[in-house]
Symmetry: C2
DNA sequence: GTATTATGTCTAAAAAATAAACTTTGCGAT
DNA sequence: ATCGCAAAGTTTATTTTTTAGACATAATAC
């Protein structure tokens, strides 16, 4: 039997907006909601949902102050988030370098030795 | 105004199964349905749908012979598909290298010269 | 004090992913 | 020969995810 396997892809990071958020925060001390909205070119609704998703995964630390017009939300990446991002990056790099074995080879292994 | 932009991510390729199919076919002359099903570790239903999606995008060439038990489906990547895959790879590489400008800098640009 | 605007959240609609049920037909046992 | 089983795909229905638009809140301008 073949031992071939594709790299594992973290589904939480395999989403355009969530990836942008993480990449941005990984290169900045912190960023607020409004700025993230600008640079990711997303709607506020979508951004809000994805920040919550990432926070619940433990990838982000979110601090909110105020309410209404004066509210301010600041995000920061966590160690866990940073590590997950690096692992995701490595997984994709390996994916792109992947050389998939020929069917013959796999089948040979299947019955072979 | 800031000129900062994240790379564009091709949504057709930004899906785990479709990406696996493309990576596999990019490193093989061709592969049949059954083999793709094995190496991608997917269900036949999902694989069928995604192959059709990629074919309709012009990324794959699919030849089918027979019907029922004796049917045989062989896939091959097209030039267009190969190019799209490389572009996707480059986009992601740039994404990971991305250094997002500070808000201050962006705002400075916003009003600055 | 009323209107307006900025910052977020909630929720409903659209899109996508996935798997389960179905179809077709060759092959083997009886 | 025929009955049932299995293999190869496809279709469709369900679930999940993504997305955006309506809503809420409160500060500021008038």
């Amino acid at each position: 039997m073949s031992t071939f396997k594709f790299p594992v892809i973290n589904p939480l990071l395999h989403n355009e907006l969530r990836l942008k958020i993480m990449v941005a925060l990984d290169s900045l001390e912190s960023a607020d909601f409004v700025y993230l909205c600008q640079i990711t070119d997303s709607t506020r609704g979508n951004l809000s949902v994805q920040i919550t998703t990432l926070k619940e995964a433990g990838y982000l630390e979110v601090s909110k102050s105020g309410l209404g017009r004066f509210s301010h939300t600041v995000c920061r990446i966590t160690r866990k988030g940073h590590d997950a991002l690096k692992a995701y990056e490595q997984g994709l790099r390996r994916m792109f370098e992947q050389r998939v074995p020929d069917k013959d080879i796999v089948e040979a292994k299947k019955y072979g030795q």
